[in-house]
């Protein structure tokens, strides 16, 4: 159990391009941090720098206030769970879990005790003699977790550990990993490209884009007040609607002609992108949506349509409201649900 600090962490692979462009983050003891972002944004690279599998080009990483930049992975006292599990194929489950402990020269009885305890927690006790290839994906995933747990490390590092599982198992394991982390109280850094995983598991999350941490905060903060256009579009499903507009002379926004004109304190003429989440729209008054496609999800209905000025808009309605394609649907927004972003810089300006 430990704190992890990243100070101006940078990474480049020799070329001019920086894969990680300066990340600052203080992770508290026992915190569950999720690094989320689209594929290729540098999540794995950042995690692997914490693990010691990748050299740190700039800045420093400290675990429990000890700078670990030049330490081998084994000396950092971390355990890692890989996307493809990376179990040793020729070793039994028991041997896989105990390998790291054997290398550290722990006594047989203590190894046995730890492996049995971890196997109990993960409910893989009856598979200890099996080889990885005789296990299902979900069981392999548990063994990989077990290998991390028995080490009793200062921090767990997960690199997309659930993306090789089917959807149902993914949801189940997501809950279990979170519970387990609570129970053990070990500081964890978890990488995923799946924003649902990020939202449900994280104490705090880092939303990354092209090697930059766009926002660091609790899931609710990130959802309620995304700090950039990128974060706003990435977090939340279905994604936020964006409408480009300008602030009119009276400081209001003209949305869909002037069908709606929420008040802002911004300078007239400024180019602004307005964001509105589909779930923050409801039927009645204001905007006039031409329905093009209706997706029935049971609990909800997703309506894809167009405003009269031709911009597309997604509206999320309760499952009992089912407009048909071709209908006109009057739509209004909750107060304060409009997110305002500077069109040029993508930075958050506030709500309206």
């Amino acid at each position: 159990m430990a704190t992890v600090s990243m100070r101006g962490v940078r990474k480049s692979y020799g070329g001019a391009l920086e894969v990680i462009q300066g990340i600052d983050m203080e992770i508290a003891d026992g915190e569950f941090i999720v690094i989320v972002g689209p594929s290729g944004c540098g999540k794995s690279t950042l995690l692997r720098m914490v693990a010691g599998l990748e050299k740190i080009t700039g800045g420093e990483i400290a675990i429990d206030s000890r700078v670990v930049n030049n330490l081998e992975p084994k000396d950092r006292d971390i355990a890692m769970v890989f996307q493809n599990y990376a179990l040793y194929p020729h070793m039994s489950v028991y041997e896989n879990m105990s390998y790291g402990l054997r290398i550290r020269g722990m006594s047989k009885t203590e190894i046995d005790e730890r492996v049995k305890r971890a196997a109990g927690i993960l409910e893989i006790g009856q598979y200890l003699d099996r080889k990885p290839r005789q296990l299902s994906g979900g069981q392999r995933q548990r063994v990989a977790m077990g290998r991390a747990i028995v080490r009793e490390p200062k921090a767990f590092l997960f690199d997309e550990p659930l993306s090789n599982l089917d959807a149902k198992l993914r949801v189940q394991m997501r809950v279990e990993i979170k519970k387990l982390q609570r129970q053990l109280g070990v500081t964890s850094i978890y990488v995923t490209h799946d924003q649902v995983e990020a939202m449900t598991m994280a104490d705090r999350l880092i939303v990354m884009n092209k090697g930059v941490a766009e926002q660091i905060g609790t899931p609710i903060e990130v959802y309620a007040a995304p700090s950039t256009l990128f974060v706003a579009g990435f977090i939340g499903s279905p994604a936020m609607n964006f409408l480009e507009t300008r602030v009119s002379s009276d400081g209001r926004l003209a949305i869909d002609g002037a069908a709606l004109s929420p008040k802002t304190g911004l300078d007239p003429g400024r180019a602004v992108t307005v964001g509105i989440r589909p779930e923050h729209l409801a039927t009645g008054g204001g905007l006039d949506v031409q329905v093009e496609l209706v997706e029935l999800l049971g609990a909800d209905t997703l309506v894809h349509g167009r405003l009269s000025d031709g911009k597309s808009l997604v509206v999320r309605l309760p499952g009992n409201q089912v407009p048909t394609a071709g209908d006109r649907l009057p739509v209004q927004a909750y107060d304060g649900a409009w997110h305002l972003f500077d069109t040029e810089t993508g930075k958050r300006l506030g709500t309206a």
């Binding site: 890692m80 990376a86 040793y88 020729h90 390998y99």
Partner: protein, 282 residues
């Protein structure tokens, strides 16, 4: 096959049986010849069924040798062959697996140059470099020694290449997981890579043992003392002995014995051998 076509099945069986007969017939004749006495084998027609001299012939060739040429017992030649074949085969595997490990898992200067240098030697069989090699071996005083028989043949580009390809197919995460677990490079090599290469090693063992056992030209050059002759050499020398009626029964007995070890290696290692060539267990 999904469909059941009896004529096709019968036909394919016929082809296979014919093939087996064609291949097996000379071996059968060799065996038959090794069980008669010398005079029977010089008469026509040659017998097609085994005779009563099996034990006597094999005893003679094994413990007294072929008197008309050298007269060293074949046991000595068989032992020489065994030492040479095992030496070449184990040496090749050890050297090539460590070379491949270095090339795949370490970043050192001229790594690719080293790889290509090894790769290029694929194109140079022993025969091409045999004269300079002989010069070196003679210069080092290794004529008539096991080291002289083994060491010049011990490098193997093929095996290095095979191991390299196998190591490249091992997921990087395995090496990383073992690093996080605290294993150093050699520990990873011994604990993870070696056991995973088991089937590849078995396949190479079979191929290289046979290669080593069947060496002819090199042992012929580098030995001139009977006590270092190999079984293959002895068989060849018997058949070409001048000024004498060949004792075909003894020559064939020696041939049968020289054939036996490679056959046994294949029989006993067949399963791993096939798995090593077709399966990629990861």
């Amino acid at each position: 096959m999904v469909e059941n076509r009896p004529w096709l099945t019968a036909f394919s069986h016929l082809v296979v049986i014919l093939g087996v007969l064609i291949i097996a017939f000379p071996v059968w004749m060799t065996f038959v010849a090794s069980t008669h006495d010398a005079s029977t084998m010089l008469r026509s027609p040659v017998p097609l069924l085994p005779g009563p001299y099996l034990i006597q012939n094999y005893k003679e060739i094994l413990f007294q040798g072929y008197a008309r040429t050298s007269g060293i017992p074949l046991t000595i030649a068989l032992m020489n062959s065994m030492i040479m074949a095992l030496g070449i085969c184990i040496g090749k595997i050890l050297i090539s697996i460590t070379a491949a490990f270095a090339i795949v898992y370490f970043r050192f200067p001229f790594r690719m140059a080293a790889f290509w240098a090894i790769f290029v030697t694929l194109m140079l069989p022993v025969e091409v470099r045999i004269v300079p090699t002989y010069g070196v071996v003679a210069g080092l005083g290794m004529i008539n020694s096991y080291s002289g028989l083994i060491i010049p043949l011990i490098a193997s580009a093929t095996a290095t290449f095979l191991f390299r390809q196998f190591f490249l197919s091992v997921p990087d995460e395995l090496a990383e997981a073992s690093r996080v677990d605290g294993a150093g490079p050699m520990r990873f090599f011994v604990d993870i890579l070696l056991p995973m290469s088991r089937t590849t090693i078995a396949a190479l063992f079979v191929i290289q043992f046979i290669y080593g056992w069947n060496q002819y030209l090199w042992p012929l050059l580098v030995t001139n003392h009977e006590s270092f002759y190999t079984a293959v050499m002895v068989v060849a020398r018997q058949a070409t002995a001048v000024d004498a009626t060949p004792s075909w029964n003894l020559i064939m007995a020696a041939a049968m014995l020289a054939m036996l070890p490679p056959v046994l290696v294949v029989v006993f290692m067949q399963r791993q051998f096939v798995r090593g060539l077709v399966e990629t267990e990861k």
